[in-house]
């Protein structure tokens, strides 16, 4: 295996200092009615305590979210207050790339020497998203009203197309068959439920009890609510909304949060329960595909990343992506002649949902857990984001 230079050489992800809420499907849980920034802060405190990481050890916080939330203006400062620690930080937003971008920015913060230990906290509530009213003098109606989640799914202002259409475009461009995409989807569900029954999912996702305004329990978020086993037969029977896109072969909106810590080399050793495990940042690439071609953007990004690092997919131990459409994985597999059964073990966003901000953060922590189980190696994480963007990053796990 080739050794390559690392980006952010001083930054590490301390093994095990991560966790996320389960991602209940939108409108199915108490998360549908909370201030998600507050929830994320409080949940971060709880999760890091379970991981034996005291918030006192953090000196900076990078938060990421895509759906506006109350008090967002105050960004990381108010979220850190909700966690119980007054530290500075900033907010990052890049649609579904947010969860990965936030981790990479935290690594930059550490590697620059500006911080010793940075908390990454990504979150979103797609349920009951805010509705924005925008004075638009040039628009026909002069005032535009936008429901933040659904209207953005349905309309890319740069192309005038819906995201779903981009999946259909790419399915046609790559000549994908519905049969293969359905089979791939069925495989993803099997992988997820295997991860659940083996306890893998539970290593990252933490049950959290939600309180109402009176302080009384209003439910425990202890599963990716809304996710049910689905058979190949049932997938095959689903109506195509666009080429190879059915309600089964695309993800669903969800609510949730995810957090992890990025620290200096020494800091990571002090924070991790298994300091012998070293997790480094190797490479990162972002590309932009053609108009309304979002699902091919991740494959393009991975291609660029492999070129930059001189590695091939055979060098990679774990491959995992953010795949709002099963088409994403089919295109990736076709591009690199890669067996899609080998990637996304134990679950992926296609199955456990799409809360936007935290999605790729959860992908990263699950991928790192899998790599540790395998005894280390390169970890490739990638995904698409609104605007036909593809993002890919490579991590290295040793020990």
């Amino acid at each position: 295996m080739r050794e390559v230079q690392t980006i952010f050489p001083e930054a590490r992800i301390p093994y095990g200092t991560w966790g996320c809420s389960y991602f209940p499907a939108w409108q199915t849980s108490p998360l549908a009615e909370v201030n998600i920034g507050q929830f994320a802060g409080e949940a971060m405190a709880r999760i890091l305590a379970l991981r034996k990481v005291q918030l006192q050890k953090l000196d900076y916080l990078v938060i990421g979210s895509t759906v506006p939330w109350h008090y967002k203006f105050w960004n990381a400062t108010v979220v850190s207050m909700c966690a119980g620690r007054r530290i500075p930080g900033f907010h990052v937003e890049q649609a579904c790339a947010t969860g990965l971008q936030a981790i990479l920015l935290a690594a930059a913060q550490v590697s620059s020497g500006a911080s010793e230990s940075v908390g990454v906290l990504t979150f979103d509530r797609t349920s009951d998203s805010p509705v924005g009213v925008f004075p638009e003098r040039r628009s026909y109606r002069r005032t535009e009203v936008i429901s933040d989640v659904w209207d953005n799914f349905g309309f890319d202002p740069a192309t005038g197309k819906a995201m779903l259409q981009s999946a259909g475009n790419i399915a046609r461009k790559y000549g994908l068959s519905k049969q293969e995409v359905d089979e791939l989807t069925a495989c993803r569900y099997e992988q997820y439920f295997k991860g659940r029954s083996s306890g893998f999912i539970q290593r990252c996702a933490v049950p959290l009890e939600i309180l109402n305004a009176q302080g009384k329990p209003m439910g425990v978020i202890d599963e990716d609510k809304g996710v049910k086993p689905i058979s190949l037969q049932s997938l095959r029977s689903m109506r195509e909304l666009d080429s190879c896109v059915t309600s089964g072969t695309q993800t669903h909106a969800a609510d949730g949060m995810a957090t992890l810590v990025v620290a200096s080399r020494e800091g990571a050793k002090a924070l991790s329960a298994r300091p012998e495990i070293d997790i480094r940042f190797v490479a990162k690439v972002e590309v932009r595909a053609g108009a309304s071609c979002m699902p091919e953007a991740p494959a393009l990004a991975v291609g660029q990343l492999l070129k930059n690092t001189g590695l091939s997919l055979s060098d990679i131990a774990v491959v995992k992506d953010h795949n709002p459409f099963a088409v994403n994985d089919a295109v990736f597999a076709k591009t690199f002649q890669y067996d899609w059964r080998k990637m996304n073990n134990n679950g992926c966003p296609l199955v456990w949902g799409h809360p936007q901000g935290p999605t790729l953060t959860r992908v990263v922590m699950e991928a790192l857990e899998e790599a540790v189980d395998l005894g280390g190696g390169y970890v490739l994480v990638f995904g698409c984001a609104a605007g036909d963007v593809g993002i890919a990053a490579l991590f290295k796990v040793d020990g």
Partner: protein
């Protein structure tokens, strides 16, 4: 005279409790005490409270004004011109406590004067200042200059500082350090070379002065600020929000330190806690060093609880292992701090223990807590704490103090006994009965019997305990889920109470405070005679909680009463309503009257003068059925109250219908059965349990 240990009353220079009975009068009366401090009525001076608009100043102004107005002592409230009005805020509370008319009378006696901090107003002379209670900001030089200012004009003025931390030696005046809430908390930690007339005055006015040594900070502050510091540490260790940490601390220790700081006013309270710890840190070392979170809140004045718009969303429960770590952090530091205070002899052990309960709201006094764990376990807790906070080990502490736990002062924190070779007095300094009191009462009885004393009075201690409020209901929590625990508590406490009847030739239960209720009344009624001052109110409120009395209240007094008396007793139990001592004469109380007459009578009786009161016949055998139908006025329309009444009726029927031996267990079983019932769980005790114990 012999005594198990020195009484706290003696530490005030007011003699022993036995002296109170032997002399047939209280050691000092209020009129004499007022005269000693403020001069005779024809030349009476005033009390000055400086910094009167502050939280402490205004609270104490009202507390003293309410007590001194009837003695014609003018209350001068002195503060800087332009100070925010803290006195006006107190008037609502004054009206609530005393009614509009009396509150107006009290307020009429308050004279508000302004000054510039450099000279005193000439109008002050009119009121002849005799006693200054200084409550100005915590700046040593400012305070010293303030005293000098007063002494220049009033050289004979007695000065007390309410300082939150400076030693008397540095201030140059005596100290009366009050406990929060200042309007109602009666405890003052007094630093003075010898108990003086001002301390006697406080006692005579119904306040509770406690003599403490001259060290940095005070017993209460070390406990409470120490607890706050430990709670912040525990919170940080577990990333646990303060509101949730408060719940665990309440379960573990008793108070809600974070809520308390917010309730007092976070800006001021955070500063005072920081100031106390900061000075203790300088004096003693890193055990007390204020944690960064406290420094931050001291500077910002921010509340500990989240604002309303961020009411907690995510619940936070910790495992038993984590709770155990939290316990190590909290108790480890408090235990270490306590050994320092023990080494310094900051107060008598009984007083030190009581300060934790009466001022810091500890469910169980710190020394009683240490005692129940034993020295070895306490040392292990401190060692585990030092593993988590190694810097604390650098502060000198005194593990050898824990080796003295077998000494009587440690063993009798709540119950003391004295005798003169003929008769004795057992006195209880805790207002509610718990397992500590139970064990100590047994030891006190054993001691008297070992001294050959078979005649004794049982009473409160005329100092720390000003009333007898019944059983400590937190002791019932284990019984809410386990019937055997209910039986254990009821049977063992009843067995203790029965010793007053069976092990002694003559026992007199003496009730002198404001009230005697529930378990404490059940205890007292086991004495051969029950005396109560005519100002006393008695009640058995169990049915309203609801619980079923467990210490034989449902049959013991019935065995001494005639049929009409038994109906009165049943009415008292079924309504839960209070009864004046004078109304209970003959069926519950054997003698009532003015306090001083009663003191003398009780002493004569216990010394063998049978003419004082005739012992009522006590029926060992089963009693005839109680005619409950003859009790009117019980309809309440409250189904739950009716169910509770039926449980009490059944207990009375069963226990009175049995012989004395069986009755104890019968009552204990009824009490235990009720404790595990849904009705009890829905009530006051159940609600407290679910709030405190089951977080």
């Amino acid at each position: 005279m012999k005594q198990m240990r020195k009484s706290t009353l003696e530490e005030l220079g007011l003699g022993t409790v036995l002296d109170v009975f032997r002399n047939g009068k209280l050691p000092v009366d209020a009129e004499r005490a007022v005269t000693a401090v403020f001069g005779p009525p024809e030349d009476r001076g005033c009390m000055v409270i400086s910094g009167a608009n502050g939280v402490v100043g205004a609270g104490k102004l009202m507390q003293f004004a309410a007590r001194l107005s009837s003695y014609g002592v003018p209350m001068v409230a002195l503060d800087l011109a332009g100070s925010p009005d803290g006195i006006g805020k107190q008037l609502t509370g004054l009206r609530k406590a005393f009614g509009a008319d009396q509150a107006a009378e009290i307020a009429k006696n308050i004279i508000q004067l302004n000054y510039d901090g450099k000279s005193l107003p000439s109008a002050l002379k009119i009121y002849k200042p005799k006693f200054l209670l200084e409550a100005i900001p915590e700046k040593l030089e400012l305070k010293r200059a303030h005293y000098a200012l007063f002494r220049r004009e009033y050289p004979d003025l007695h000065i007390w500082s309410v300082t939150s931390g400076f030693p008397s030696e540095q201030l140059g005046v005596d100290i009366a350090h009050p406990a929060f809430p200042h309007e109602i908390n009666k405890i003052f930690e007094i630093v003075e070379k010898e108990p003086g007339p001002a301390s006697a005055l406080l006692w005579a006015l119904g306040l509770i002065p406690v003599e403490v040594s001259d060290h940095w900070s005070f017993v209460l502050d070390v406990f409470f600020c120490g607890l706050m510091q430990a709670s912040i540490r525990a919170s940080s260790m577990k990333n646990m929000p303060y509101w949730k940490t408060d719940k665990y601390i309440r379960k573990l220790v008793g108070p809600n330190p974070f809520r308390a700081h917010d309730a007092i006013g976070a800006r001021g309270a955070n500063f005072l806690t920081w100031s106390c710890l900061h000075h203790l840190h300088l004096q003693y070392g890193p055990l007390f060093e204020p944690v960064p979170e406290l420094v931050e809140r001291k500077d910002s004045g921010q509340n500990w609880y989240p604002p309303d718009h961020f009411r907690p969303l995510v619940n936070y429960s910790i495992s038993e292992q984590e709770q155990s770590e939290l316990e190590d952090v909290v108790y480890g530091s408090l235990f270490q701090m306590t050994t320092i205070m023990l080494h310094e002899r900051r107060a008598s052990l009984s007083a030190m223990n009581a300060i934790g309960e009466l001022c810091a709201q500890f469910t169980r006094g710190m020394l009683a807590n240490l005692r129940s764990r034993g020295a070895t376990a306490v040392l292990q807790t401190i060692a585990r704490y030092h593993a988590l906070h190694p810097e604390a080990a650098q502060t000198s502490w005194y593990p050898e103090e824990l080796n003295r736990m077998s000494e009587v002062e440690w063993q009798q924190l709540y119950v003391n006994a004295e005798h003169d070779g003929v008769a004795g007095v057992i006195h209880i300094s805790r207002e509610s009965y718990n397992s500590d009191v139970d064990a100590e009462l047994n030891r006190a009885m054993d001691w008297l019997l070992s001294q050959g004393i078979r005649r004794t009075i049982l009473c409160a201690d005329f100092h720390l305990s000003t009333q007898m409020v019944g059983a400590d209901t937190s002791e019932f929590f284990p019984a809410l889920t386990e019937r055997a625990q209910g039986i254990r508590i009821a049977a063992s406490w009843s067995a203790t109470a029965r010793r007053l009847h069976s092990d002694f030739d003559c026992t007199v239960g003496f009730i002198s405070g404001k009230r005697c209720m529930g378990g404490m009344l059940e205890l007292m009624m086991h004495c051969h005679y029950l005396f109560a001052a005519d100002s006393v109110v008695l009640s058995m409120p169990e049915v309203t909680l609801p619980v079923v009395p467990g210490m034989e209240g449902c049959h013991w007094p019935f065995r001494k009463a005639d049929e009409a008396g038994r109906l009165q007793l049943a009415r008292m139990l079924l309504t839960g309503r209070p009864v004046k001592a004078t109304q209970a004469l003959g069926w519950l109380i054997d003698r009532t009257g003015p306090l001083e007459t009663l003191l003398s009578d009780a002493w004569k009786l216990v010394n063998g003068d049978a003419s004082i009161s005739q012992r009522r016949h006590f029926e060992d055998a089963a009693l005839p059925p109680i005619q409950f139908d003859a009790i009117d006025g019980l309809d309440s329309g409250d189904a739950q109250l009716e169910q509770a009444r039926e449980a009490v009726r059944n207990t009375i029927r069963a226990a009175c219908g049995a012989g004395l031996t069986e009755a104890l267990h019968m009552q204990a079983e009824h009490s235990a059965d009720f404790m595990v019932s849904a009705l009890c769980h829905k009530g006051v005790v159940g609600a407290a349990w679910s709030k405190i114990a089951s977080i």
